[in-house]
């Protein structure tokens, strides 16, 4: 999350935050209170995401103070909001709603989002609009107080558990592509919304296709102005990349390098000088990437957001791919086996679970999902380095007149 929300004038200290949490826990005993009630109360007390504004689950203090609150709650054995079940809601929907939602929308959505009562998913990509997201074809046509939406979305994770989808749809095909988009919260349980599993090359179906057939969305669920969808979506995407690239503080040997070094240490008979050299390089690269993530985290915490989030996602994808490729080779005969090809719908996405073959295959997606590495390089080149854009044939042409 690049936006630290509204800062209150007077900032609390970490100790004061801890004090507030302890006071809250005195009044709300997690051992006796129902989980949902406890989480609702925590949100209402501004101790959910402390950097969010008062009234929306926070206290308007710097993001860096969140750790103090979380630690106190964890120490008391309080239930958390199971953030791994709602990654898109917490990582992408919340900052977007915070930045562009109306007061009514923030009040209506943020609490159930944070507590995990309502899961969110993202309806952006389409079969014909992947890298060229702004070229998407899903149409939303105004009909009284609501919008009729038809189209096909793809690569939608957790859609089968979600109550809400962040939907980007074309509301005006008569203007250039970036200008004709609007942004909605789509009720995933509404008629006309059909979710089908999309099987990927690992054998699993982590993702879905979502077919929208004249689905109705109240205008009250539009986020931002009509035609402003592209700008709203940028907030979502930026937060997605930060989330994927990993801006959390992690210990050494986290992530993909962990199973690789574990295999190395436990199976001396697999070692060769060539593999040793490769592992040392990968270990070093992983550690450098971790330090870069830590530096990014420190900058964010200090209110100095930089463009390094895009770098983190690029490096994350490359390293996951290289390390898992190495691990298959290190495993040798075992690397030729695969645990299970059966089609499954995992509850959460786990990039590092299962065997080396799974990790290798799953990691191929890391440079595609959430913005391909190619698109990220374009973004870095143009927005960070200021290199000139390519000649564009579709920029000033009404979307409907662009050949496709």
């Amino acid at each position: 999350m690049l936006d630290d929300g509204v800062l209150s004038e007077e900032t609390l200290t970490g100790d004061e935050i801890r004090e507030r949490v302890r006071a809250f826990l005195t009044a709300h005993d997690p051992r006796t209170m129902p989980r949902q009630d406890f989480l609702n109360a925590r949100w209402d007390a501004g101790l959910a995401w402390v950097h969010y504004p008062p009234g929306y689950g926070g206290l308007g203090v710097p993001r860096a103070l969140q750790a103090a609150a979380d630690e106190e709650f964890a120490r008391a054995g309080a239930p958390d909001n199971a953030p791994e079940r709602n990654p898109i809601g917490l990582g992408m929907a919340a900052p977007t709603i915070l930045a562009f939602g109306s007061g009514e929308q923030k009040s209506r959505w943020l609490r159930a989002l944070w507590t995990g009562e309502e899961i969110w998913c993202q309806l952006f990509s389409e079969p014909g609009a992947g890298s060229d997201l702004a070229g998407l074809a899903t149409r939303a046509v105004k009909d009284g107080d609501s919008w009729a939406v038809s189209g096909q979305k793809v690569w939608t994770s957790v859609a089968h558990h979600a109550k809400w989808g962040l939907l980007l749809a074309r509301t005006d095909p008569g203007v250039p592509k970036h200008q004709g988009l609007s942004y909605f919260a789509c009720d995933m349980t509404a008629p006309g919304v059909e979710v089908r599993p999309l099987r990927q090359l690992t054998g699993e179906a982590e993702f879905n296709e979502v077919f929208l057939t004249d689905a109705r969305i109240p205008d009250a669920d539009r986020i931002g102005q009509t035609g402003e969808g592209w700008r709203v979506a940028q907030t979502t995407l930026m937060n997605e990349r930060v989330a994927i690239g990993g801006a959390r503080a992690l210990p050494r040997e986290s992530g993909m390098i962990s199973p690789a070094v574990t295999l190395w240490r436990s199976r001396p008979e697999l070692r060769t000088p060539v593999l040793h050299d490769r592992l040392l390089r990968l270990w070093a690269d992983a550690e450098v990437a971790r330090l870069a993530g830590e530096r990014l985290r420190q900058q964010l915490a200090a209110g100095e957001p930089g463009p390094e989030g895009s770098a983190a996602k690029l490096v994350f994808a490359r390293l996951n791919q290289e390390i898992s490729a190495f691990e298959v080779e290190l495993a040798g005969a075992d690397g030729l086996r695969y645990d299970d090809w059966a089609m499954k719908r995992p509850e959460t996405s786990n990039l590092y679970g299962r065997g080396p073959g799974f990790r290798y295959l799953r990691a191929r997606g890391n440079s595609i999902e959430g913005g391909t590495s190619e698109i990220l390089r374009n973004i870095i080149a143009e927005r960070v380095l200021g290199l000139p854009a390519e000649p564009r044939a579709d920029k000033d042409v009404p979307w409907k007149d662009v050949p496709r």
Partner: protein
């Protein structure tokens, strides 16, 4: 260097006939459907390539009913099998087992040419009606020593007079052994040797393995006092296994070349058609440069694959260098090509319903099979006199 690195007219004709047959009978949807149905090998396709194009007996001499061709032609065929990720046991049977049997037949000098157990088996394999497989880990490479996980066991009454030995032990992750009629079993003991074991004999257990390469399903082989017949022993047996693994590596390198070329072709075709930003994706320079680099790599891989096949065909003394170079280089090119194929297809390339993953899985598994690129390059240290520290 006198090796001809081009394709002969015969080779071109063979490649063309095989490509036509595979395109007609083994499109990627057939291959994918077969993996889902659990019928990983396509027996009908094998009969067709054996009888229609003669692929089963390319290495087998004409007197034994084979085509009397060479590793050059077999490598040419392998390129097509790679291009179609064809689920047939050509590699295990027509390359590896055939090489082991030819090597064994050559070593048994006191047997008249064309007779003996090896020759008998080769005669049955020439038409594809019988297939054989070496009972060895698919990851084993030439130079890693005689496999030691299978051993001679105590004889049973009557074995001696029947000329039968008893074999025990387990080999994991063997390739093309699942559909094989006959197993060639390297067994430790006295004598250390290569034994023929009938796939239907009592005590032969094969368990299919869920394999990274879904189009070349491996199996674990357990022999439980299974009866075997010695075909060659001692140094000659070790040489037969070495020759077989070296030939396997070289032919697999050719398969990797064919796979890489196909991945390149598929990707080039896709990026010409796929439009984003009102332009074909293939008009973006970064994509063009990556595909140009891939084409360069494939070009290089073709030269070294041809060289390895030519060296094997002529028994050139440079064969160990050529095989190590080919397997090292083609392993990396094929994996890279398949990875680029997935990446440049974007989301669709990451789905189950697109052929890219069939190639990715075969490429990655093949890069481990018969020795990784790193292992083969390490072998060059002594072959090329580049001494380690």
């Amino acid at each position: 260097m006198s090796a001809d690195l081009r394709y002969s007219d015969t080779e071109r004709a063979l490649a063309s006939a095989l490509a036509d047959l595979l395109a007609a009978q083994s499109g990627w949807k057939d291959v994918l459907a077969r993996t889902e149905a659990g019928e990983s090998y396509d027996a009908g396709l094998w009969r067709a390539v054996a009888s229609g194009v003669g692929c089963a007996g390319l290495l087998i001499p004409e007197p034994l009913g084979g085509a009397g061709a060479s590793y050059r032609e077999l490598a040419t065929a392998a390129e097509q099998f790679g291009a179609f990720v064809a689920p047939v046991p050509y590699l295990g049977s027509a390359a590896v087992a055939t090489t082991a049997l030819l090597s064994a037949a050559e070593s048994t000098v006191n047997t008249p040419a064309g007779s003996g157990a090896s020759a008998d088996l080769l005669r049955r394999m020439a038409g594809g009606g019988t297939t054989a497989a070496l009972a060895a880990e698919f990851a084993a490479s030439a130079g890693s020593g005689f496999p030691g996980s299978l051993r001679l066991a105590a004889l049973r009454p009557g074995d001696e007079s029947a000329g039968v030995a008893r074999l025990r032990g387990t080999v994991r992750s063997a390739a093309d052994a699942l559909p094989a009629d006959v197993l060639l079993v390297p067994a430790d003991g006295v004598p250390q040797g290569l034994y023929l074991v009938d796939g239907t004999a009592p005590g032969v257990h094969r368990v299919p393995v869920s394999s990274l390469d879904m189009t070349r399903q491996l199996c674990d082989i357990t022999l439980d006092d299974a009866p075997g017949r010695l075909i060659v022993s001692g140094e000659a047996a070790a040489r037969a296994v070495e020759d077989a693994l070296a030939a396997g590596a070289a032919i697999l390198a050719a398969e990797q070349l064919g796979l890489a070329q196909r991945c390149l072709d598929m990707t080039v075709g896709y990026v010409k058609e796929r439009r984003q930003f009102a332009r074909p994706v293939g008009s973006f320079q970064a994509i063009k440069h990556r595909l140009a680099d891939l084409w360069v790599s494939v070009t290089q891989a073709r030269a070294v694959s041809r060289y390895a096949a030519a060296c094997l065909a002529s028994g050139d003394e440079d064969t160990p260098v050529a095989v190590a170079l080919a397997k090292a280089y083609c392993s990396e090119v094929a994996t890279h090509a398949a990875e680029e194929c997935v990446q440049l297809h974007g989301g669709i390339g990451f789905t189950w319903e697109h052929p890219a993953h069939l190639y990715l899985k075969r490429a990655k598994a093949a890069s481990v099979a018969f020795g990784t690129a790193g292992a083969h390059r390490s072998a060059l240290a002594s072959l090329a006199s580049i001494a380690p520290p």
